[in-house]
C-alpha cells in the first residue's frame, strides 16, 4: 500500500512520537508537534498511538491512495474531502484505491494529522520514523514531502475500522487567543525588573517565523537585560550567555526583541539567555497557533505545572479507554 503526493502543501512531513536520547549530539526529539492529535489520529484507525502519520502545517496536502485504506484526520479545524465530498474530522473513514484526499483551509489550529491504518512505513532511524529536516534525517528521505513522492504505508491491524469517532468532550478547540503557562528560571534573573513584568503583562502575536524549530512572538514591548561585565566566553550582548543547552519549550529573546519558544525540532543549544520554559502540558497548544494568533504568558510554579501535566495525562487515559473500546 502507498499514497501518492499530488500537492505537498506548505510543510508536510512524516512524524511519530519522537526520537529521544540524542539531544546531546544536537539531534532533537522531533515527532508530531501536537502529540495529543497524533495519538487521537492513530487510535481512530486502530494503530499504536505513537505510529507514524503525516503532519501538515497551515496548508494541507493533496494525496491519492493507491489501495483501499482506513483514514483519520485530526488536529486543526479543517474539512477533509474525498473526491470533493466532505468527510468528518476526528472520525475514521474508508477510502478506495484511486481516491483523492484534499482539504479546505485551516479555520483554526495550524497542524493537521493524517493517520492511515498500518502507519506510514518509512525506515526507522535511531528509533523513530520522524523527520528531522535540519539534519536530513529520518522520515521520507530526511525531508518534507514533495509532489510526486510515493509514501509507503504498513499493514493495517485487525482493529482498524471506519466510523470510530472522537467524543466531543475529548475534542480540543483552538482559540485564536490563549494563555501559555511558563515556569520562570534559567536566566530569568538577567532581565531587568521592568522587563520581568512587561513580558507577562503584554499580549504577544505569533510571527510568520513559526515552525517546527520554534515559535517567534512579537508586538510586546522590547525586553531589557541587566547590564554587566560579560563573563569570559559569553559574547558581548547583554542577552548573551556562555553557550548552553536549550530545554524544549524554553523561551529565548535574542537582543531582547522577539521571544522564541523552542519546539520539538529545537536547536539544542546556543548563546541566548533563556528566561523560562513553557510547561509540557501547553506544548501541543503552541503547535496549533497560527501566525497572528495571540498569546499571553502566565507565570506558574512547579506544582501548577505538575497538576496541569496530570490533567493532560488523565485526558490521555480517557482517550485510550474510549477509543480502544
Amino acid at each position: 500500500m502507498a499514497i501518492e503526493v499530488v500537492k505537498p502543501g506548505l510543510a508536510t512531513s512524516v512524524q511519530d512520537a519522537g526520537r529521544p536520547g540524542y539531544y546531546n549530539i544536537g539531534i532533537p526529539l522531533s515527532g508530531a508537534l501536537d502529540q495529543y492529535a497524533l495519538r487521537v489520529a492513530n487510535l481512530l484507525v486502530g494503530n499504536e498511538e505513537g505510529a507514524a502519520v503525516l503532519e501538515a502545517s497551515l496548508l494541507a496536502p493533496e494525496l491519492v491512495f493507491r489501495a483501499p485504506a482506513i483514514v483519520a484526520v485530526t488536529g486543526a479545524e479543517v474539512a477533509p474531502k474525498i473526491n470533493g465530498e466532505g468527510r468528518p474530522r476526528n472520525e475514521s473513514f474508508t477510502v478506495r484505491a484511486g481516491d483523492r484526499l484534499t482539504f479546505d483551509f485551516m479555520k483554526a489550529g495550524a497542524r493537521s494529522y493524517i493517520a492511515i491504518a498500518g502507519g506510514i512505513d518509512v525506515p526507522v532511524v535511531l528509533g523513530s520514523r520522524s523527520t528531522y529536516g535540519l539534519g536530513a534525517l529520518g522520515g521520507f528521505s530526511g525531508r518534507k514531502l514533495m509532489a510526486g513522492d510515493v509514501v509507503p504505508v504498513g499493514t493495517a491491524k485487525p482493529a482498524a475500522r471506519a466510523g470510530r469517532a472522537l467524543p466531543a468532550d475529548l475534542t480540543p478547540t483552538y482559540p485564536k487567543s490563549l494563555e501559555l503557562r511558563v515556569v520562570t528560571g534559567l536566566y530569568f534573573h538577567r532581565l531587568t525588573e521592568e522587563a520581568a513584568k512587561t513580558f507577562f503583562a503584554d499580549i504577544w502575536t505569533v510571527a510568520p517565523e513559526a515552525d517546527r524549530i520554534g515559535y517567534r512572538y512579537r508586538k510586546g514591548r522590547a525586553l531589557t537585560f541587566r547590564e554587566r561585565t560579560q563573563p569570559f566566553g559569553a559574547g558581548s550582548d547583554p542577552s548573551n550567555i556562555v553557550d548552553a543547552g536549550y530545554p524544549y519549550g524554553s523561551i529565548q529573546v535574542p537582543g531582547g526583541l522577539e521571544p522564541i519558544i523552542l519546539h520539538r525540532d529545537a536547536v539544542s543549544g546556543g548563546g541566548y539567555a533563556m528566561i523560562g520554559t513553557v510547561i509540557s502540558a501547553d506544548m501541543d497548544r503552541i503547535a496549533q497557533m497560527q501566525p497572528n494568533n495571540l498569546a499571553r504568558f502566565v507565570p506558574v510554579n512547579m506544582d501548577a505545572a505538575l497538576k496541569a501535566r496530570a490533567e493532560y495525562k488523565h485526558r490521555d487515559a480517557r482517550l485510550r479507554s474510549t477509543l480502544s473500546a
Binding site: P231, G235, V242, P247, S250, V267, A305, L306, R309
Partner: protein, 292 residues
C-alpha cells in the same frame, strides 16, 4: 567557582550552570557529573547534555519527581566535587585547509556584516589576537589541541575549546549580523569557541578554513561512520593539522571514493597535569596520535 546553580526548565528539565564564565574546570565538572549520571541509568532520565560550562537533563516527572531529580544531581555534585579530575577520552587529528578560497569567498559576500569589511576573517582575527602573520595564527590554532565542549545547535556540530591557558585563548566576535550561508565543514570561531559547521547553513562565526573530513552523515558512508552518523561527542579531543590545497584535493577524492578515514587514539586528560605544565600536557596528548 562556587556551587552549581540549578534551575528547572518547567516540569521536564533541570538546567545546571556550573559557572557563568567558560573554563576548563567548569567544563570538566559538568562532564564528570554527566558521566556519573549516565552510569547510574536512572529510570525516567531521557537526555543528558553536557555543554561548555553547564549541563541540561531532561526527565519524565511521572517517573522521577523533579525534587528527587534535583537531589540526585546535588548528590552527584557532592560526590565528584573533590575527585581528581581525569577524563579518559580519545584524540583525533582533523586536516584543515586554512585560509581557503570557499570561506573567503563567503566572507567577501557578507562583508558588510563584518567588523572589518576590508580584511578576511582570518586576517582580522589574527590581528585582534596579536599575531603578526596569518601563519603564526594558524600555528597557534593548529598547535594545541581542543576539547569538544558541546555538540549541538544542529546535528553533530561540535563546539571546541582550546586546551591552553586563558591568556592564549583565541577570541573573536561573532559577525555583526549573521550570514545566511556558511559552507559545509567550515572551521568557525565566535567568542572563545571554535565550531565545525556539520551542515551548510546560516552562521555568525568568523571563518578560518575548511576540513575535507565529513563529520555528520545520515547515510553513514565512510568507515568512521560505521557505528554512528555523527563523529563527535562531548569530551573528545581534536588536534587540527594545517594541510595544503593538494592534500585537501586528495582527501576530497578519498571522501568521494569512500576510502577516507580518521584515526582515534585513546588518551587521558588530567586537569592537574594541565595546570602544572599546560604546554607539556598538550604535547603529551598529541603524542598519543603518533605514538605506537
Amino acid at each position: 567557582m562556587s556551587g552549581i546553580r540549578y534551575s528547572f526548565g518547567a516540569d521536564e528539565h533541570v538546567f545546571a550552570e556550573i559557572d557563568e564564565g567558560m573554563s576548563l574546570e567548569a567544563f570538566f565538572k559538568g562532564m564528570a557529573i554527566c558521566k556519573e549520571l549516565e552510569n547510574r541509568r536512572i529510570p525516567g532520565v531521557s537526555e543528558i547534555c553536557p555543554s561548555n560550562a553547564s549541563y541540561l537533563v531532561r526527565f519524565d516527572p511521572d517517573v522521577i519527581h523533579p525534587d528527587k531529580m534535583l537531589r540526585t544531581l546535588q548528590e552527584i555534585e557532592a560526590q565528584v566535587g573533590d575527585a581528581d579530575l581525569e577524563l579518559p577520552t580519545r584524540i583525533v587529528e582533523l586536516p584543515v585547509l586554512y585560509n581557503d578560497p570557499w570561506t573567503n569567498e563567503t566572507g567577501a559576500r557578507f562583508r558588510e556584516r563584518r567588523q572589518d569589511p576590508n580584511s578576511s576573517d582570518i586576517e582580522y582575527s589574527a590581528r585582534i589576537n596579536g599575531y603578526t602573520s596569518i601563519d603564526d595564527f594558524i600555528a597557534a590554532h593548529s598547535g594545541a589541541p581542543w576539547f569538544v565542549s558541546m555538540v549541538g545547535f544542529v546535528a553533530g556540530l561540535p563546539w571546541l575549546y582550546q586546551i591552553v591557558e586563558r591568556a592564549k585563548q583565541i577570541e573573536a566576535p561573532k559577525y555583526l549580523r549573521p550570514r545566511t550561508d556558511t559552507p559545509k565543514l567550515t572551521i568557525g570561531h565566535g567568542g572563545c569557541f571554535c565550531a565545525i559547521y556539520s551542515v551548510r547553513g546560516a552562521g555568525g562565526y568568523q571563518m578560518f578554513g575548511i576540513t575535507p573530513a565529513p563529520i555528520y552523515d545520515p547515510a553513514q558512508k565512510l568507515p568512521y561512520f560505521k557505528d554512528f552518523l555523527a563523529v563527535f561527542r562531548p569530551g573528545d579531543i581534536v588536534k587540527f593539522r594545517s594541510i595544503s590545497r593538494e592534500e585537501y584535493d586528495r582527501d576530497i577524492k578519498a571522501v568521494e571514493a569512500g576510502t577516507f578515514d580518521l584515526t582515534f587514539r585513546p588518551v587521558t586528560f588530567s586537569l592537574k597535569s594541565f595546570h602544572s605544565d599546560p604546554g607539556g600536557h598538550s604535547r603529551h596528548l598529541v603524542e598519543a596520535l603518533y605514538g605506537h
